[in-house]
Amino acid sequence: MGIGIIGCGVYIPMYRLRTEEIADVWGGGATGGVSERAVPGADEDVITMATEAAFNAFEHAAVEPSEVGAVFFATSSAPYVEGRLSSVLADALGLKEDAIRTELGFSARAGVVALWNCVNAIKAGELDTALVVASDSLIGAPGTPSEFKMGAGAAALLVGKDGTIADFGSFCMFSTDLPYRWRRNESIYVEEIDDPRVERDFGYVRHVSSAIRALLQKSGAKLSDYQHVVLDQPDAQLPRALARALKFDGGGLRDEQWRHTIVASEIGCAGVATCLISLVKTLDVAKPSERILVASYGAGAGSGAFELTVTEQIEKRRGRARRVEEYLRRKEYVGYGVYERFLGMVKRAEYAPLIPSVPAYMRNMPYKLRLVGFKCKSCGEINLPRRRICRRCEKPSEFEEVKLSRRGRLYTFTIVEYGPPGLERKYAIGVAELKEGVRLIGRLTDCKPEDAKVDMPVELVLRKVIERGGLVEYGYAFRPLRGGAE
């Protein structure tokens, strides 16, 4: 029995900035083939994006998060350089506390490196099922070539041995030190040397083609054996240069092998997530027994390539989770100023008071993120938050934890026009009633505050709620369930 992907999902923020707007602001610039970049909302970061991608993967695989033995989280834009990353995701998903948590970063190649670690840990018998999630939110240095190319998104792959939809073959890597794109610790901006031909020929083309060449040698295959070739996209033009340059298989790559996998032209470079989003997009259409080649690239770090063979199972899983196309279609355009605000390039010059209490956080947040209620064993009422004396029968009681559904309807709402310092200036708050009858309070997200209506169907998505004293607090926001990605 092979090791393969048993479920996959992505997340792409709904906001888009047209790169021509960047050119307008700076008086020109080459877009690198990226016509629009995805922009995370003000309440999003790589953790919230990874969480939604992972939820989609679990839905696709029909596997319980408690069955997962490890999570491999790859990002090059973590909100904390030291501190939490996979912990928030794990609490929100309800992963076991003793599941192995591995965090990788430092280059756009880290998503594939995470996958390699995961597959080998399963091969070694250390794990049965694991989650690999890659998420990035990148900002190019303002007014420089990199600003046109960066984007955001997340992909999640559940890897295991039972019910695989695509089985892994070989992995190969090729690395040298060719630095042309980087992000320093103290900066939020990805910078690059403005020398496009060096970047193309000695960076991207050389490293990726070398990794692919090694992979073909290892697996004894020819380029033409792959129906789908997923090439990483530091921008949306480099893959074409590579396709032309791949001469070692006779005629190079045919357009129909790689063109349909490209996403960077619509969302920009999502760092560690780009080629995995492209892979999931490919799996959305791939047919049994087709072969897929994936080659990642991280500037300065090199390339990692691997191959997959699609199984019969893939047809049975279709339609279970949101497809990449739905996320690509679901979009709302923002201008340059809103893009700056959403990504924290400009901030409201006021901050929230009150440093939060870490003990209070510890007592409450895990179950808040896990989204569970506490069912009274005497009267059946689901209490939320947790109580010792049941809110309905008013007796001291025993409670059992029950999972709450992530869909509901707005019971009531309001729109705060003058948010206090540290929050967005304007936002909608609502109380949503979930299927179980339990209600929850939260902000509305991915909509205009004015879209709020009583009885409107909503889904719960993990988002940033507030940052105070350096601590980001996460919680659930309500996203209208209509049109777009349902």
Binding site: P353, L354, E417, Y418, P420, I441, V454, I466, R468
Partner: protein, 385 residues
Amino acid sequence: MRRVAVIGAGMIKFGELFDKGYKDMVQEAYLKCLESVDKGIEPRDIEAGWLGCYYETDGQTTGLVADHLGLLEIPWTRVENACASGGDAIRNAFLAVASGYYDVVLVVGAEKMRDVPTNMFGWKGTEKSRDFIWDYPIGITGAANFAMHAVRHMHEYGTTKEQMALVAVKNHKYGAKYPYAHFRREITVEDVLRSPMVAYPFSLLDCCPQTDGAAAVILAAEEVARKFTDTPVFIAGASTGQDRCMHMEKEDMACFPSTIRAARRAYKMAGVENPAREIDVAELHDCFTATEIITYEDLGFCKRGEGGKFIEEGQSELGGLVPCNLSGGLKAKGHPIGATGVAQCAEIFWQLRGEAHVQAEGAEVGLTHNIGGPTAVSCVIIYRI
């Protein structure tokens, strides 16, 4: 239990009192209250003090009040019960006299609201009354708190923004004639509807202002009351009521269960069976216009869902079924939190003695109402001449 009466009341002009501190305000209100006692009163007649206060002030609050009023020889108690702090301070003082322990007590209510910049007020209010894990970080401002009830009331009963505006228009009309009011000007429905939105459905003129103020009243046992005045006003019933603290746990947001609970007990104590007929004049907690509309229903002035009609028909105007907020209410008079309930008591004291600025003729039974925090606490007090 003994009967307890209000024998004197005083308040200062409410407003943005940038030139007055907490100590200045409480001294002024106290002196006015002493002067108001018909046959005179001496500080040494006062046996205990209660203070209604919500926020922190410039020191240990009860201590500084006792100190600056020159009342160091008596025990002092601070009552903090959100926006019902003033009303609940009166209720607690009332119980101490009714029990027979004290004969004469002082209740002071005061709040300094404008030492805080307006942009920080959202946090100042919420840090006192929101669950820290679920509610506080979201930014549920005071207006948002009540707005979510208003939206539910609109949804269930078709209550309109125009009906809400009528509450503001009415209260400004009376506030214009009230010498202590923060805003002394009349407004129109169009003014309200055209004012900028604060928290849907509330526009700026649906909201009470951020106001500094202080008020004081003296309570006395029936046995000694006539030594001080020939027209004492008796407290006939008083209760607070509670509801769940978090909006996500409130079962019914188209009403205020805290008010319903408080009223049920206060009415029973006062022997009020048909409030719409028996209450002659009321001071309601119109922190936002819709709050007053929902409160008509909660207090039984009209049926549930008919609060909008009640204001539209002028039933809460002078000459209507139950004239409400002839002082201008929180909307025009202002809402210095701890002072609000005490100032309401002062107004009903004047109404039942026939001394009010906008007088409900022949009023014999009065009511005051506060609701506060995340609408979790309410205080209802019934007065009779």
